[in-house]
Subunit: 190 residues, 2 copies
DNA sequence: GTCTATATCGAGATAGAC
DNA sequence: GTCTATCTCGATATAGAC
């Protein structure tokens, strides 16, 4: 693959990523993506064998992004509590997108689940990356066997906040919930 | 409309309701519904002008179900706290469906939102019915201006629990979360 | 009221010119 | 590598016989 071809491929994946988030995977046609990248519909198949392959590239990209994010948090924060707070703050900084499109992970898992899509497990892996990392932080805080349940609790709270913020298009709710979630965290780890 | 025709119409709506929940609206074709009800695909259009009209009938039916449920709870429980607990217990009794298909309301709102479907607002009304009723209970408990936020908090917790239970196909998580949610409620209203 | 046959449309995907 | 033209398929929807 030449440099130019590789760059176009990345642009396709980036456009697909955004469109899948905004409109969903099935509602996004090749034409939508082709228009966004300004290529012809046929050109697509030089870079990807099928629509599923684009989805795979999008999920892989998201997984890489999450891994990088976790590495960054590892480097920037040292105390487990600060790492957990970084996760919660992600909700705050993404509030605009959440209001408009929901949680990208949750929404994609829901869609692939309904469609009984074979790539569902890859999408769930996005959740698992966060879950395992959060579990680790709770373990470092001495939560032992409870750590996994606490991690999933945090995931669920985040999903719930994203879902209701999206449905009611209400970021005030999100802000208040984030405060409460931080209080819950403080009470839980002490 | 004759009695027989009306009955068939109800069977169609019931089958569509179930299939929309299990597979999603867009993934469910007329053929799927026709097979379930054992009628021909053409026969459909005698009872409904379009697929959207079936969706409308399904949403209307769900709205009616929710209203009846709330009336039942009003009749069976007298203290606001018991009414709030009835809402939480609904999660417990639906755990099997939640594990397999998620929350029917949340999942439908997500799908219609992505598809930018004009009937989204009707689906959101399902959430609003619960929200307003829960708000009322918190008001009766003297929560005043906080009542709405508490109601939305409860909705969000339920959505989050349903989402994670579904994604990880884990009802143990759901059971533990329900316990915690009841404790939160107890602490909140005292 | 219910059926079969068919129209229509947009999607993913392919072929082959350039 | 990128394009245009085309294929195929499944979906919603319609027409008209019975």
């Amino acid at each position: 693959m030449t440099r130019k071809g590789e760059l176009l491929r990345q642009r396709i994946v980036a456009a697909a990523d955004e469109l899948f988030y905004q409109q969903g995977y099935e509602n996004t046609s090749f034409n939508d993506i082709a228009n966004a990248v300004e290529i012809s519909c046929g050109n697509f198949y030089f870079h990807f064998k099928s629509k599923d392959e684009i989805l795979k590239a999008v999920i892989d990209k998201r997984l890489e992004n999450i891994k990088h994010m976790l590495v960054d948090w590892e480097q920037n924060y040292h105390k487990p509590i600060d790492k957990l707070l970084a996760y919660i703050d992600m909700l705050y900084s993404n509030q605009g997108n959440i209001k408009n499109h929901g949680c990208p992970i949750g929404v994609m898992c829901t869609e692939l689940n309904k469609a009984n899509h074979f790539m569902l497990s890859d999408a769930v892996e996005m959740h698992t990356l966060f879950k395992d990392w959060l579990t680790q932080q709770f373990e470092l805080l001495g939560k032992g066997k409870e750590a996994n349940q606490l991690s999933m609790h945090l995931l669920a709270r985040a999903q719930g906040i994203a879902s209701i913020t999206h449905t009611f298009e209400n970021t005030d709710f999100l802000k208040k919930e984030i405060k409460q979630l931080k209080e819950w965290l403080k009470d839980t780890i002490k």
